[in-house]
């Protein structure tokens, strides 16, 4: 059912060697390839057939659900609307991601619009990897949108990674946090050649004692360009932090704009941002351990994006 190419893409975006255990939904070239439910996790097509609804029963713990998308059909731009309903006090891992294999001159792309409703006290780890490969010259684009609503006491940790091969990415992350909920976003993006990537993030801290931490690590090589925008708006006593670091190499360019808006006197908001080349002292140290200049550069970037 899965050919070698499918397997390579699945391995890259979801660390899957084969069909996973538990609940999963694998979408290939805009259509459902295979799906399975578990006792606590159900996956159904949505009413208008444009995506899926993943429902996780309250109290479900230590379960995971895989929903990778793979694309290898020339000229296809696949748009999908997925909803995740996470029951109270559940504790689950959701592994998404999209792998594109482009073998022709025609463009291929995917836009995944994901909406999460995370119930009271639930914990979610969301892992999303984007990857593109193939010898074709067609443009590969990935434009994900992620909307997260955290109810009281919910915790969401998001790992968003785009490493290699994607020509154009325009990402939007939106989140609204109710009381005592917590959101942690870790975004890592590497661009090279003429690639462009934009990341827009809007986080609203609506509830008392809500917390958000947005970390972005960018490596911009070749003639590529990355823009990062993040806004945390505080409407209550809360804590928010944005940390965005970019390493620029060759002719790479970067625009980073963190913004903080405090609409409540007890809001505590901070940010740190840096753009620059790899620090000389880091290169010197690794070279003094016997690494060549190029190996030192690679090792520093590997750690930075880990």
């Amino acid at each position: 059912m899965l050919d070698a190419l499918d397997k390579e893409l699945l391995k890259a975006v979801a660390d899957l060697e084969d069909i996973p255990k538990g609940a999963y939904n694998i979408r290939k070239n805009g259509k459902l390839l295979t799906r399975a439910n578990s006792a606590n996790i159900s996956i159904d097509s949505n009413a208008d057939g444009t995506g899926i609804v993943v429902a996780i029963a309250p109290g479900t713990v230590n379960e995971s659900v895989h929903i990778p998308v793979i694309l290898s059909q020339a000229g296809l731009y696949d748009v999908v609307y997925n909803s995740f309903l996470i029951g109270e006090n559940a504790d689950v891992t959701i592994v998404a991601g999209c792998g594109i294999h482009c073998g022709t001159e025609s463009p291929e792309g995917h836009a995944g619009i994901h909406e999460f409703r995370v119930g009271r006290g639930a914990r979610v780890k969301y892992v999303e990897k984007h990857y593109a490969a193939g010898k074709g010259s067609g443009k590969r684009s990935l434009n994900p949108t992620t909307k997260v609503f955290l109810e009281e006491g919910a915790q969401v940790e998001m790992e968003l990674t785009q490493i290699g091969g994607v020509d154009e990415a325009d990402r939007l992350n939106e989140a609204t946090l109710e009381a005592s909920s917590m959101l942690m976003i870790m975004e890592r993006v590497l661009t090279e050649k003429g690639q462009t990537a934009i990341s827009r993030n809007d986080i609203k801290l609506a509830g008392t004692d809500s917390r958000a931490n947005m970390i972005s690590r960018s490596v911009i090589k070749g003639d590529s360009k990355q823009n990062f925008y993040a806004t945390i708006e505080a409407l209550a006593k809360c804590f928010g932090h944005i940390e965005c670091d970019a390493i620029i190499m060759d002719n790479g360019t970067n625009e980073t704009i963190p913004a903080l808006k405090a609409m409540h006197p007890d809001a505590e908001l901070t940010h740190e941002a840096s753009i620059g080349k790899i620090a000389n002292e880091q290169l010197m140290k690794l070279m003094s351990l016997g690494l060549s200049y190029d190996d030192a550069v690679n090792r520093i970037i590997q750690g930075f994006l880990k």
Partner: protein, 254 residues
């Protein structure tokens, strides 16, 4: 084992009337470090101690003169090649890395991955607790922690020549003694030629030979006892006769 021949190092100075004047930091150093000995390099701030240490490691390129290591001219070798030849360097202000752990640095320094061997390496170094292994070597570490890690990665290289630039910066008082013992033990057990740049008397006392650098030149080489007068003289200005005067009109030769 390490010979410095008429070594000079200059940087671009402030633009003078003619523009682009060179400023000499190291002004013709000649010295031979003998195998297995412990040297302390000291001198006033800005005298060129760290610059000299960095010239030996290749971090600063020599402007003229040459450096011979075990008979091989290394003047034009890169940092990487000098490291491979057996020179290790401990930075005064160690680099911090996002996402790289102490374990990974040790692995890069030695090629060792096995837990048992890493633990025995830490036992040998002695000053780093085992729970350091999985710490990320980033800005969250204290000044003392990062210095211990720096020292460990230097020793882990099993160098023929180890250079330590101000190894006690940020280190608590109770660790300095064990640190001196460690460097002496490495010298004794592995025959490591050791160069410590320091102002701290405990390192000067531990050294077989002291070099005092001032104004980019070696102004003294010998044992600590003989160096003390000169060091005391340098520590505060008291209008010595060498300054050609005994009042506020004295000419300063420092």
């Amino acid at each position: 084992m390490l010979e410095l021949r008429n070594l000079h190092f200059a940087v671009d100075g402030d633009d003078g009337p003619e523009g682009g004047e060179k400023r000499e930091i190291i002004r013709g150093i000649n010295f031979t470090f003998e195998k297995g000995k412990f040297y302390a390099i000291t001198g006033p701030n800005g005298s060129g101690k760290t610059t000299l240490a960095k010239l030996i490691m290749g971090i600063n390129p020599a402007s003229s003169g040459s450096i011979l290591f075990d008979g091989q001219d290394i003047t034009n070798l890169s940092i990487t090649d000098r490291a491979k030849a057996g020179i290790a360097y401990s930075f005064q202000h160690p680099a911090r890395f996002k996402g790289i752990t102490f374990r990974e640095l040790l692995n890069l320094a030695t090629g060792i991955e096995e837990e048992e061997q890493l633990v025995s390496l830490l036992m040998r170094v002695g000053i780093c607790p085992l729970d350091f292994l999985d710490k990320i070597v980033d800005a969250k570490l204290s000044g003392g922690e990062i210095k211990k890690i720096e020292l460990a990665t230097t020793i882990a290289r099993n160098p023929k020549l180890a250079i330590y630039d101000e190894p006690d910066t940020g280190i608590d008082l109770w660790t300095i003694g064990p640190m001196v013992d460690l460097l002496k033990r490495e010298q004794k057990n592995y025959g490591t030629t050791t160069i410590v740049v320091s102002h701290n008397k405990v390192f000067l006392e531990a050294a077989d030979e002291i070099l005092i650098i001032n104004g980019g030149r070696i102004v003294f080489k010998g044992v600590l006892g003989e160096a003390m007068n000169l060091l005391n003289d340098m520590s505060i200005c008291n209008f010595k006769s060498c300054c050609e005067g005994d009042d506020q009109n004295a000419r300063c030769f420092r």
